[in-house]
């Protein structure tokens, strides 16, 4: 065995430049896939943490069944009232892994500056609960303040936050007074005085001139109700999301409540879309790398076979079987794959430590502040890359190697 590997290795050294370029191609491909993979891993984690912690949405949300589809048409029917809330709280209390329970009521209506008014939509949340969710965030995410001004408080009902677009439309600034109007759950028009406490950037363009944030009590007063439309739950551990969801769904159903429990990634359409996009980019990069690796290995092995035809004939004459010839070239291309992967690992580590050292920053979509750009090292990706590149190299070599093995010995020796 060692003899043949030694032979394969020496054969690779025969045409150093060609082998080097193939190894380089494999290494660069490896590094490209793994760096991109590490970057997407960072993006996914950031988006996830941003959704769960920074935006305070938690891991799980509990709704009345059907709220997400028809809640807007018949608000009263899909709201969770105080009595139901009591039952739910009891169920939740049995789960120590739920660290924060934050009720919300999402509202919409008109916001007026006294002269003109425009449509707003707002999430009514408990500011202290949101802050507790923020505090659970790992690293940077929890510390980024996403607004200018002062924070909302549970009991300072009239304090609201406006997206900059909305504030601009009504010519409002920090400290300005405004009036929010909306129909109550029973259909009367209600109005509530408000003061602009904070300004923030809307997460998407379409909502930039509509979004408002208010305390839960503000939302409930405006809608004249004690109900909420959802409960958001923060868990101790991201990985338990699915299990806790299943347990809760079962336990809540057992209490006779028609509720559904949604996970953060079911609700975060942005995360899903970005993930899909990056998955496509990743797939493309991967296919390009795949093609380059396969082509350069096929090229290297074919050239080697052409140059060494007489040698193949000699080995066959000495008693090498066909599969021995295939094995010899397979060993050579496997070594190319291994050496390429090793180089790729080194290049990935260099990129990774470069990013870790220089700490570049960037402005990702949906966030308006500069944040550090990171690339994660994902051992799983590395392992799969190594295995895949070796398998690819082997597969690419098998075609020309088979042809070599099928050559007529006399022809290969060169008829004299």
């Amino acid at each position: 065995m060692m003899t043949w590997i030694k032979l394969a290795l020496r054969n690779l050294f025969r045409n150093r430049r060609r082998s080097l370029f193939t190894i380089l191609a494999i290494g660069l491909g490896f590094a490209a896939v793994n760096t991109l993979g590490g970057f997407t891993a960072y993006i996914f984690t950031s988006l996830k943490d941003s959704y769960i912690y920074a935006q305070g949405n938690g891991h799980l949300s509990v709704f009345k069944t059907g709220f997400l589809q028809e809640g807007k048409l018949d608000p009263t029917r899909y709201l969770i009232d105080e009595e139901e809330m009591g039952v739910i709280q009891q169920v939740l209390a049995r789960h120590p892994e739920i660290v924060v329970v934050a009720p919300q009521l999402h509202i919409s209506g008109l916001l007026s500056n006294g002269k003109v008014s425009t449509i707003f939509i707002a999430a009514g949340r408990v500011p202290s609960a949101v802050r507790r969710i923020n505090e659970h965030a790992r690293g940077m995410i929890g510390k980024i303040q996403l607004f200018d001004g002062k924070s909302l408080e549970d009991d300072v009902i009239h304090g609201i936050g406006l997206s900059r677009g909305l504030a601009e439309q009504l010519n409002l600034d920090l400290g300005s007074d405004a009036v929010a109007m909306a129909p109550t759950v029973s259909g009367q028009i209600n109005a509530l005085d408000a003061q602009v406490f904070q300004l923030f950037d809307g997460p998407v363009e379409a909502l930039e001139d509509k979004l408002m944030s208010v305390s839960l009590k503000f939302a409930q007063s405006l809608y004249d109700t004690g109900s909420v439309d959802r409960l958001t739950l923060l868990l101790t551990n991201d990985d338990t999301t699915e299990t806790v969801r299943a347990q809760l769904a079962g336990e809540l159903a057992a209490e006779g409540l028609k509720l559904e429990v949604k996970t953060w990634n079911e609700l975060s359409t942005f995360y899903t879309k970005v993930k899909q996009m990056f998955d496509v980019i990743f797939l493309f990069t991967f296919l390009i790398v795949f093609t380059i690796v396969v082509m350069s290995v096929i090229n290297t092995v074919s050239m080697a076979i052409m140059e060494r035809t007489r040698e193949i004939g000699t080995l066959r004459a000495l008693g090498f079987k066909r599969r021995g010839i295939v094995g010899l070239f397979a060993a050579e291309s496997m070594l190319l794959g291994i050496l390429g992967s090793l180089l790729g690992m080194v290049l990935t580590l260099i990129t990774w430590s470069g990013v870790a050292f220089f700490k570049p920053t960037w402005i990702p979509p949906q966030i308006t502040r500069r944040v550090p750009l990171e690339v994660y090292l994902v051992p799983d990706y590395m392992l799969y890359s190594i295995l895949l590149l070796i398998v690819l190299s082997l597969a690419a070599a098998s075609l020309p190697a088979r042809t070599a093995a099928r050559m007529q010995i006399v022809g290969a020796l060169g008829h004299t």
Partner: protein, 246 residues
């Protein structure tokens, strides 16, 4: 039918070989009958294109004939699979080529070890046997040299050591001296002669150099894909149609 003397090693009966080159057919061998016994030293000679290499390739199991039968140690070669022929070549036949055909990335010693390693002999054992053979051809002090560092004559001696390392029944040398100067050509021929008489290894070697035929006991002369003469200088008549009666 019964013969006294050394046993039959190779037998060719009504053997023909046709090459197909696109549309055209080239008859390299017409109908050849030939028997080679163990321990013989056989020279095949004739002009270029007469079929010497074709004959050597068929005897050496490197190629299969288009008609007739080739038997090696009594076994019909056509009935063997490619793998079985490879095994038979590995253990039973040694090759010496016109252009030496050493593996350039292997040292002289490693080249000689190669046939043993193909058959799965341990590295240590292969090395021991190879050293012995290198010493036999007088190159034990060149064991670590790569072929490129050796002269043509030295390379061919390494090739002979490689051909002998498995103790084969037969060594085929197709024009082993064609790429050598006359002095080296003589030395290589002498070496083969000596190995033949010392070890009893059967040699079939082809050449178109008449001078090398001196003192070769059996000479097969070819022309246009046929054996036109098969004799030993000492006993001219006896061997001519020996194969016919078998």
């Amino acid at each position: 039918m019964s013969r006294i003397g050394p046993p039959l090693l190779v037998e060719l009966r009504q053997v023909g070989k046709v090459y197909h080159l696109g549309e055209s057919r080239i008859t390299a061998l017409k109908t050849v009958n030939l028997s080679i016994h163990r321990g013989e030293f056989v020279a095949v000679w004739g002009p270029s294109g007469s079929g010497k290499s074709t004959l050597c390739n068929l005897i050496g199991l490197l190629d299969v004939c288009s008609s007739g039968t080739v038997r090696f140690e009594g076994q019909d070669v056509a009935a063997l699979s490619d793998d079985q022929r490879s095994e038979l070549r590995n253990r039973g036949i040694g090759f010496v080529f016109q252009s030496f055909n050493l593996i350039p990335v292997l040292s002289a010693l490693e080249n000689v070890m190669l046939p043993l390693q193909i058959s799965g002999v341990s590295t240590a054992q292969a090395r021991r046997a190879a050293r012995k053979r290198l010493a036999e051809v007088g190159l034990d002090d060149h064991a670590a040299h790569r072929p490129a560092k050796l002269s043509g004559g030295q390379q061919q001696r390494v090739a002979i050591a490689r051909a002998l390392v498995t103790d084969p029944a037969l060594v085929i040398a197709d024009e082993p001296t064609a790429n050598l100067d006359s002095e080296n050509a003589l030395r290589i021929t002498e070496l083969m002669r000596r190995l033949n008489s010392n070890n009893g290894t059967t040699f079939v070697f082809s050449t178109h150099d008449q001078r090398l035929l001196e003192r070769v006991e059996r000479q097969i002369q070819m022309r246009d894909g046929e054996i036109i003469d098969d004799r030993s200088p000492e006993q001219p008549a006896m061997r001519l149609d020996r194969s016919v009666g078998l």
